[in-house]
Amino acid sequence: MFDSSPIESWEGAGAVFNSAGGGNVWIWVVIAAALCIIPIISAIRHENEIENKHG
């Protein structure tokens, strides 16, 4: 995770993002997906609180 450079030289380099071509990219894909889902759950809970308060 801390040593994530996919290249050893800039000469002829292609993908240069952290963890390119390695298994760690999956971790970021899963984190990104979770960071989309969790706020939706938070929104539902917040709305339910407002509905209960005023309904």
Binding site: A15, V25, C36, E47, H54, G55
Partner: protein, 442 residues
């Protein structure tokens, strides 16, 4: 300089130009969302203003990562002729899985990031189109789900079908829709219709006898200014519907501008017809209503009525189509309202109906243009009709089904009690601290 070195210089210049073109087109397209936000907030009553704005901002924000995670992949997986099942083996579908070398900074690939970005903005536009119709009573959580669905799944599958050289509508039916009248506007308009049926009207919109009450927004000037800003954004949108590839290797010929289908076009043709249809829409709506809301909606409607054939219309034809769009929208909106459907901004009329007109107009007036590929189909009314049916159902069915499920789960609609005090009750700050009051329409 050797021919090879000259070739490398030309390629580098062409790639940098292309990258810059789509970067700035994407930036201009952000105006679509700034405009929609103003438009929807202006159309909201004081007690709902910020909820409408938050809803619009969140749609934009959620579509970006979800389009990264699966939307862009869907486009390529449906662009090889499949209708229902994505083709995961397609070359570019494999290249655009979110963990591939093509989906991040790559010094050998100057195209993927800017094309992805342009498509993200197309996607966010589809959600913004639906967004206005559901203001003042949809729950934000459900809205995020529906926005993600239309922006990162539904429209992009339709784009694979009909906005890609390898899509089944293009190869089998000669479907022609360069400016996305069907794949963006029909899909979004009919998706909105499906959602509105389950969402129901705002409190106070209809009387017991079925007659409708007007629920005017709190700022018509904000609405009109927002609509004009949307128009600015659509210049970026339509500009990004064209491609300018580098000259082909081994050839000195410049391919020039190409449509999304790879057919020849010019940016000038888009300029002629976008402006003429824009003007036609305003004048048509003024002729019928004299109402600035409908005049600016007419500007959009005019562009959408001409969008499918922006590369081929005579500008006078584009003007007439735009005029037709401006005339049609208030009547179409009135008809939809008479069905008991509360579309707060007329999105079904402006985008759904005018997108339909645009797709069918190509079939009626542009039949017989030669196919883009050997063995392909010419433009025809039948092909455009099949495309229109695919776009209408492709938008309506997912919108209806998923909103029905959300409704059954009890998270689609804000309760009547919260609507009475205002949906801004869910927002921790006030829109207008001077305690500007909203009329009670209940």
């Amino acid at each position: 300089m050797s021919p090879e070195e000259l070739r490398a210089v030309i390629d580098a210049a062409a790639n940098a130009s292309m990258e810059a073109y789509y970067w700035w087109a994407t930036g201009i397209m952000v105006c679509i969302h700034a405009g929609f936000m103003m438009y929807e907030m202006g159309q909201s009553r004081v007690r709902n203003v910020l909820a409408s704005g938050v809803k619009n901002i969140l749609a934009f924000a959620f579509i970006i990562p979800t389009f990264f995670l699966f939307g862009w992949w869907l486009y390529w997986a449906y662009g090889t002729g499949n209708i229902f099942i994505p083709d995961a083996s397609a070359e570019f579908a494999q290249y655009y899985v979110p963990w591939s070398d093509g989906m991040g900074p790559n010094l050998q690939d100057q195209a993927s990031g800017v094309f992805w970005a342009a498509f993200v903005l197309f996607s966010a536009t589809t959600a913004s189109i639906v967004s206005g119709s559901v203001i003042e009573r949809i729950r934000i959580s459900s809205w995020i789900i529906l926005a993600t669905l239309v922006g990162s799944v539904v429209w992009i599958i339709a784009a694979g079908w009909g906005w890609s050289a390898g899509g089944w509508l293009v190869t089998d039916w000669g479907y022609h829709d360069v400016g996305a009248a069907g794949v963006v506007h029909m899909i979004s308009g009919f998706f909105a219709l499906g959602v509105l049926i389950n969402l129901g009207p705002r409190v106070g919109r209809f009387n017991a006898d079925g007659s409708a009450n007007d629920l005017p927004g709190h700022s018509i000037p904000m609405t009109i200014a927002g609509l004009m800003i949307i128009i600015i954004g659509f210049f970026g949108f339509l500009g990004a519907c064209l491609l300018y590839p580098a000259p082909m290797a081994g050839s000195t010929a410049d391919a020039g501008w190409l449509t999304i289908y790879g057919g020849p076009a010019t940016l000038s043709s888009f300029a002629f017809n976008t402006l003429m249809s824009f003007a036609g829409g305003i004048i048509g709506a003024y002729f019928i209503t004299k109402d600035p809301f409908w005049m600016m909606s007419g500007a959009l409607a005019g562009i959408f009525c001409a969008a499918a054939g922006l590369d081929l219309w005579y500008p006078g034809t584009a003007f007439a189509l735009g005029f037709l769009g401006g005339v049609v929208i208030p009547y179409a909106h009135k008809m939809i309202t008479s069905w008991g459907i509360d579309d707060a901004v007329g999105a079904v009329s402006v985008h759904g109906v005018c997108g339909l007109i645009g797709v069918l107009a190509v079939g009626v007036l542009l039949g017989g243009y030669p196919p883009l590929t050997e063995g392909g189909e010419t433009i025809s009314f039948t092909g455009q009709l099949v495309g229109a049916i695919a776009m209408g159902l492709g938008g309506f069915i997912p919108g209806y089904v998923v909103s029905w499920i959300l409704n059954k789960c009890g998270i689609l609609r804000t309760s009547d009690a919260v609507q009475q005090i205002g949906v801004d009750a869910e927002i921790p700050v006030a829109a207008y601290p001077e305690n500007m009051q909203s009329r009670d329409y209940s």
